[in-house]
Amino acid sequence: MLIRLLNTSNLIVTKNWLHKNLFSSWGSALITIFCLYIVLKIIPAGLDWLFFSADFAYNFQGDKIIDRTFCSRVMFPGEYGACWAIVIVRWNQFMYGFYPVAEVWRVNIVFALTPLALLPLFFDKVLFRKQLIYFTFIFPFIAYYLLYGGPGLTEISTSKWGGLLVTLFLGLTGIIVAFPFSILLALGRRSKMPVIKSISVIFIECIRGVPLITILFFGNIMLPLFLPDGFNVDNLLRGLVAMTFFAAAYMAEAIRGGLQAIPNGQLEAARALGLSYWQSTIQIVLPQALRISIPAIVNSAIGVIKDTSLVLIVGLFDLLGIGRAALADMNWMKLSHEVYAFVAIIFFILCFSMSRYSLYLEKKLKTDNSI
């Protein structure tokens, strides 16, 4: 075995590879050694802080951690790693915000069903896809009923929602509602009808020309001034509308880029065959344009997920907002490393999986048919 591993030709290949990629000159050799040093220094220290010297539910003495004073690293600063107890003790808040604990099972059902509803949208070779699509369409109503309440279920005001629930609600709903809306905007911007064209251009440029925070403030503070007295729009809904508009404007521009790449001959051929504008658009132009825009669309979608954290300035508690609330708690204050690391990990998982999905999609569409 060892002999096989040390097979001379293998060694030579490895040696050549090292020489070519890492030690091709004095300069690159120095950089390689420097990077190696950094990696060897950071990774063990990082893992140590995150896991090996970290407290989870119990501290180094085996006591259950109930507030910051029990954390090993608070007792002996510099000698112990993270104190994850802040996340464990406040787990419900991180996941559901101030949702009543007795009703949390409703959110869990929605969390569990969400992948099922998204599956047929994201993958085409899913078992029972046709049946699942129906479920996807009724899922928003089921989710609304479960989360908000209705006949038979206690009503839970959206002001009690928070944490990952709000992040996912704003992010996923924002993206999914914004997507069809952005297609219409992109088509509208290229329309020959002046009214439709100007509405699309004005909408896109106004939204894109303003920071998301401004739109959130506008929805939160200015909008009620324009609405009749006693007519109150839910705070979370305002945030959702702002996020959706913002996402739609950006995605519309991504899709417009794809539309511009489709040769005019495609539309001409479709029209010459007698297909109507909408038939040509849906059957011929959009499938090709969307394929081209996938990286840009996913880029916007990842942006939307991350931007959900801005809603904390209008009084909504998304994952980051809940984290900051935890830090404001006298019992847990100054454990900001743990809170931010945890929030970062969750965001990273969400965004990284989206980016992986987009790579998968690009690859799949490329191999499906060679253009």
């Binding site: 001959g265 495609q266 479709a270 010459a272 007698g274 253009i371």
Partner: protein
């Protein structure tokens, strides 16, 4: 108007902004007639046939196809496009659809033919253009000549009464031109009404009933092929013919 007339253009004028592309073009095509249109680039020959199925709009004059006048009325445009098929220089096949789907798409969506029936129809036309074995491939996997034959099959699947060809062989490698022209000759022999913009003079001599020479937006000469090739009247036509026949 002759009851056999299927296409008539009367004093058709078209401008691109200030540029006068078509100047008082008159043309009448009877059922089953094959017309070959030639002329230098920029002479308006493509624009003229693209006006017939309203890919371009004319600004003055009348165009009537199968008794329906072309106006801004969308309903008329739809009626005419169902009767008129078109083949483009760049094929314009739909790259995201298989060959079979390219052909069956319009029957399914425009004529509401059931999918299975439309696919059988598509296979029949693929056999007609002699590439049934390519049905499940995508356009990008086919040679130029095969792609253009698929494009012809795609048009024919809508069962048009008139076929417009806009330089169908200009984008092809020389060795592929024949396979496309063969299909077009076969179509001509079956009695299809055809308007063909091409510089393939051999093809013109074989199938054309009328030759049309255009220059600077006008029809300069219209004659039978024998007359056109042996005894052209205008100097412009003579010059053009000497250039394309003796290169």
């Amino acid at each position: 108007m002759d009851s056999n007339t299927v296409i008539s253009l009367e004093k058709v004028n078209k401008w691109y902004d200030d540029f006068h592309v078509l100047k008082d073009v008159d043309l009448s095509v009877t059922k089953g007639e094959k017309i070959v249109i030639c002329g230098p680039s920029g002479s308006g020959k493509s624009t003229m046939i693209r006006c017939i199925n309203r890919l371009e709009a004319h600004q003055k004059g009348n165009i009537t196809v199968n008794g329906t006048e072309l106006t801004n009325d969308l309903k008329n445009i739809d009626i005419i496009r169902k009767d008129v098929g078109m083949v483009f220089q760049q094929f314009n096949l739909f790259p995201h659809l298989s060959v079979l789907d390219n052909i069956s798409l319009a029957p399914i969506w425009v004529k509401k033919t059931p999918k299975k029936e439309a696919e059988e129809l598509a296979m029949r036309y693929l056999e007609k253009v002699k590439i049934p074995e390519q049905a499940l491939k995508f356009p990008g996997q086919l040679s130029g000549g095969q792609q253009q034959r698929v494009a012809i099959a795609r048009s024919l699947a809508m069962n048009p009464q008139i076929m417009l060809f806009d330089e169908p062989t200009s984008a092809l490698d020389p060795e592929m031109i024949k396979e496309v022209l063969d299909v077009m000759v076969q179509l001509a022999n079956e009695g299809m009404t055809m308007l063909v913009v091409t510089h393939e003079m051999g093809f013109a001599k074989t199938v054309a009933d009328q030759m049309i020479f255009m220059d600077e937006g006008r029809i300069v000469e219209q004659a039978s092929p024998t007359e056109f090739f042996t005894n052209p009247k205008s100097d412009r036509t003579k010059l053009f013919l000497s250039q394309i026949l003796n290169h």
